[in-house]
């Protein structure tokens, strides 16, 4: 397995180079450094000297090839530097933002996983009944709704009509739960349709297997059949779709964090995109790529753990 992991790490290098190159090229296709300088200088009419000064300070006055070399070198050494917009060290912002992002992300992830699996088992258990049909109908309905509608609607119902949670904001410590409540419900609801449909199919496939009939024949109760036997065997496809996203929890949700004013990494990235803060964007794209690769590798490893037939070589 170790050899496999090392190979995956080596594969990651060209992927990272490719992604960073693409980020660099796309940035220069869409944004001019002078425009960035103008945007980030606070003056109504910055003077040419001030613009030149800003470009020099941020290294955008150097030849493109030199900029690219520096861009790659700094990224691979994880020296992200300072934000172009605020001048703040990016690592400092990451340190502050990762906590809220991870908390919100992991709570949504866990709540969604728990709900989705429980609901799929519930629906599979009551397959063929009106509950199953209703679940199908609601599943398709929930899949059809845009995420932004969930956010606006969720905030309106829970925070404005029922007054159960704050409209937006964040506090650390146990109070965080109060602020995470609405994003968590929305995160669960937004993904519930497609996931439950998928898990239900996987579980039903398992339910019709021989070993289930054997268990039933031996007199094992339906709940035990579902939780002890079916769930374990349905784990591989479930792992595929979940483990990949675990490392990405650190990066937070762009829309959720931004809408609910959660001061995490997601809202930082969202702002960076809006303010064309290239220093932050390239750092986040690079980190995102690394975490995604880690996620994929973890998925492979989890296969080997969950299914003794899988060997990583």
């Amino acid at each position: 397995m170790l050899r496999y992991v090392i190979r995956r790490i080596l594969y990651a290098v060209p992927i990272l180079i490719g992604v960073s190159l693409l980020t660099f090229l796309l940035f220069y296709c869409t944004v001019s450094p002078e425009g960035m300088a103008r945007r980030n200088l606070s003056a109504k009419n910055p003077t040419p000297q001030q613009i030149q000064g800003w470009l020099h300070e941020h290294g955008y006055d150097k030849p493109r090839s030199e900029q690219f070399k520096k861009h790659m070198r700094e990224l691979f050494l994880l020296r992200f530097g300072n934000s172009d917009a605020s001048g703040e060290p990016i690592w400092d912002r990451l340190r502050v933002g990762i906590g809220p992002s991870f908390l919100v992300g992991s709570l949504i992830f866990l709540a969604a996983l728990l709900t989705d699996i429980s609901l799929s088992l519930y629906v599979a258990y009551y397959r063929g009944t009106y509950l199953d049909y209703w679940a199908t109908f609601l599943g398709v309905l929930f899949m059809s709704i845009n995420y932004v509608v969930y956010m606006i609607g969720g905030q309106w119902i829970v925070s404005k009509l029922l007054r159960l949670a704050p409209l937006a904001g964040y506090e650390s410590g146990p109070t965080a739960l109060k602020f995470v409540f609405v994003p968590m419900i929305i995160g669960v609801l937004a993904g519930i349709g497609s996931t439950v449909r998928f898990y239900r199919t996987v579980i039903l496939e398992e339910i019709n297997q021989d070993y289930v009939r054997t268990a039933r024949a031996k007199g094992v109760g339906e709940q035990q059949v579902l939780f002890r036997h079916v769930l374990k065997n349905a784990a591989i496809p479930i792992l595929t779709s979940t483990v990949t996203s675990i490392p990405l929890l650190l990066l937070g949700g762009l829309l959720t964090e931004s809408f609910f004013n959660i001061p995490g990494v997601g809202s930082m990235t969202f702002d960076a995109i809006q303010s064309q803060d290239f220093a932050v964007i390239r750092a986040m794209v690079f980190l995102g790529t690394i975490l995604y690769i880690i996620g994929l590798t973890l998925t492979d490893i989890s296969y080997a753990i969950a299914d003794p037939r899988v060997r990583l070589e």
Partner: protein
């Protein structure tokens, strides 16, 4: 893994208890509503809190000005006209003639002598010995000027001082040369115009190349606040996030994208609530706190709330003390008669109008071969276009009727604004008789080139890519089409738009200017030749007569003579028509009545210190309006449980059937 059964339900109950125990929509810790705290929202973090750099209005300038006071400030209550008075200054500065000898020429300059108060001290901070703030001296004011001239500090108003203070331009150039050699700026080099009194550490002199009465306004801006060199040296660029001032508040928390907290400065000097105001202020209860030490509140919390709807709902729940009237909430707030709606009034919300000292206009590119130029024909073309644009329609559609149609460049409230003046080329009439006549005289009868017969097509370059921006362009296209002129809209991203404007690649654009200080100079300079783009003169309008008049009025105190010059300049700009004046904006501000001493100020940013909070009223109102409602959740849960019961029966039957089938001999045979 067994997740059904007792542990599962225990976990669910625990989670439920945790979530619902602190239930409620209050985003602040319990009990805070009753305290002397101001709750406000900001849509994003300030870019910087560095007083030499910050130039954004709103929460950023309110924060900076609350930490960094200046020599002067605007009187909170005396606003008709805006009145300036010493803040850190012990008295009004003395002014005397100063003869400047430069390159064999003698120039009649002016010297201002500033004396500061002796009881001001910087806030406590780690940059000072033992963390104790020291007294502010005149040298701290001079240091602020020197810092502005440091190329590493992009001061947006450097040009205001560069050509006015004796020797400052040379000092700036020397620092730029050092910067090119990658050396630090020299903070000790002598500057003739910035002079410290060797006998009195509380006195400094500023020597100007020519009399410049507007210096008093510049000395009321945070750019000229005293800066402790200890702080600038210790924090460097980080001064943007670590302010060290001597104002009524200190920054006690700044969590990016979350909030900014300002708390009362315990070492704030003796600064009392004013005992005089404008007519009607006493009757309005605005002088009840006269003579009290400021600030009247202990804390200001700016929470980051990005979405306008969220902020508006937070305001309605009582969790924000003030908010503005926007396009989204207008119908909810303002009745058809233009007053506040009964619903808002019953919540104790008051509405006040703030006339913003600014002007919005459409600008022609004066170097463009079609719309630019100074010939009679070109002038008439611009005049015809100006006559065909109905500014009131724009105000009605995009500002809900809030705003005044602009007749000239100087906005209301400023010296030089004449209420009864009517611009002859802004008299819109639906038949457009005069406009069509002028268009014909310009060589475009019915919007077609008299020589080639081609339709006149113009380009309108916009940076607003939102729906409102498209509607704005559509209305402009529609209005000019009535004149027979075709307008094509080109929408650009803001930075591209700015680049194109600076390079003169446009015909017509929309532009606006907001006062930096309440003097007409800050507006008429928008057409001053040397200010041509990339400076604020985006049209590149250049008339030597106008420039001469500008240079003359700039050096004058407000007087009938100055007014006459401003009128002459106005007549010139109206006849040449480089701008189509559209609107002087008006904003509506909403406040709960538990905040006292509210009188909006269109220029001053340091008004938070005057606000007094009636915490008890706020606390009881918030509690009354925000009682959590649980029953829909219980009904929903009940519905799910009851709705599942028949299915349980169905599955039980199915299982019984299957068990029977599985145990029958035929089933065994089949399998």
């Amino acid at each position: 893994m067994r997740i059904s059964g007792r542990p599962f339900w225990v976990a669910i109950s625990l989670l439920g208890t945790l979530l619902f125990s602190g239930c409620g929509n209050n985003p602040y810790p319990a009990g805070q509503a009753g305290k002397a705290v101001l709750f406000r929202a900001m849509s994003d973090d300030p870019r910087t809190l560095d007083p030499s750099i910050s130039y954004m209005s709103g929460p950023e300038s309110a924060t900076v000005d609350s930490i960094y006071p200046s020599y002067f400030h605007y009187h909170f209550l005396k606003q008709e006209p805006f009145t300036i008075e010493p803040m850190l200054g012990a008295k009004m500065p003395e002014r005397r003639a100063y003869i400047v000898k430069s390159a064999g020429k003698t120039i009649n300059g002016e010297e201002w002598i500033f004396k500061i108060r002796d009881d001001i001290r910087f806030q406590d901070d780690a940059c000072f010995p033992d963390g104790k703030g020291r007294n502010v001296v005149a040298a701290d004011f001079i240091y602020a000027f020197r810092r502005m001239a440091d190329p590493k500090v992009p001061c947006p108003v450097l040009s205001f001082f560069e050509d006015k203070i004796v020797g400052f331009d040379k000092y700036i150039a020397a620092n730029r040369a050092l910067d090119e050699k990658k050396q630090a700026a020299d903070y000790s080099a002598p500057v003739e115009g910035l002079y410290l009194d060797p006998k009195d550490p509380l006195v400094f002199h500023i020597r100007l190349k020519q009399p410049y009465p507007q210096l008093k306004y510049l000395m009321a801006m945070h750019f000229t606040t005293p800066i402790a060199h200890e702080a600038a040296e210790k924090y460097g660029k980080e001064l943007a996030r670590h302010p060290v001032g001597c104002g009524p508040y200190v920054l006690s928390e700044w969590t990016p994208k979350k909030r900014i907290v300002l708390t009362k400065n315990p070492h704030y000097y003796r600064d009392l609530f004013p005992s005089e105001g404008d007519k009607g202020d006493r009757e309005a209860g605005l002088l009840e706190d006269a003579g009290k030490q400021l600030p009247l509140n202990d804390e200001i919390i700016y929470s980051t709330v990005r979405e306008g709807t969220t902020a508006w709902n937070m305001f309605l729940q009582g969790y924000l003390d003030s908010y503005g009237v926007t396009q989204e909430n207008f119908s909810q707030v303002v009745s058809k008669a233009g007053n506040i709606t009964p619903e808002m009034k019953s919540k104790g919300i008051t509405m006040r109008k703030v006339v913003t000292p600014g002007v919005n206009y459409l600008a022609f590119n004066m170097s463009d071969p079609v719309v630019g130029g100074y010939t009679e024909q070109k002038r008439k073309l611009r005049q015809a276009i100006s006559l065909s644009i109905d500014a009131q329609a724009f105000i009605d559609l995009f500002s809900q009727g809030q705003g005044r149609t602009a007749e000239s460049i100087v906005p209301p409230g400023l010296f030089g604004y004449e209420k009864n003046y009517k611009n002859p080329y802004r008299r819109y009439e639906p038949q457009l008789k005069k406009a069509k006549q002028l268009l014909k005289e310009a060589g475009y009868p019915d919007g077609r080139d008299a020589k080639s017969g081609e339709k006149l097509t113009l380009f309108f370059d916009t940076r607003t890519v939102t729906a409102a921006g498209r509607q704005y362009s559509a209305l402009l296209v529609k209005q000019l089409r009535q004149l027979g002129i075709e307008v094509q809209t080109r929408a650009w991203r803001p930075n591209v738009w700015e680049e194109r404007v600076n390079q003169g690649k446009f015909q017509i654009i929309e532009f606006g200017w907001l006062a930096d200080y309440p003097d007409p100079e800050n507006f008429v300079f928008l057409l001053y030749g040397p200010n041509k783009r990339p400076g604020p003169n985006c049209t590149a309008y250049q008339r030597p007569e106008y420039d001469k008049l500008f240079e003359k009025m700039r050096a004058m105190e407000d007087s009938p003579e100055r007014l006459k010059i401003i009128e002459q300049m106005r007549d010139m700009e109206v006849e040449d028509c480089p701008l189509v004046f559209m609107e002087h904006s008006e904003d509506l501000a909403l406040n709960y009545d538990w905040i006292r001493n509210v009188k909006p100020h269109a220029i001053a940013n340091d008004v938070s210190k005057y606000r007094r909070v009636d915490g008890a009223t706020r606390e009881s109102s918030e509690a009354r309006w925000n009682k959590p409602i649980y029953w829909p959740i219980l009904v929903f849960a009940g519905f799910v449980v009851v709705g599942s019961i028949p299915a349980v029966g169905t599955v039980k039957q199915r299982r019984t059937r299957r068990l029977r089938r599985d145990s029958s001999p035929s089933a065994e045979l089949k399998s």
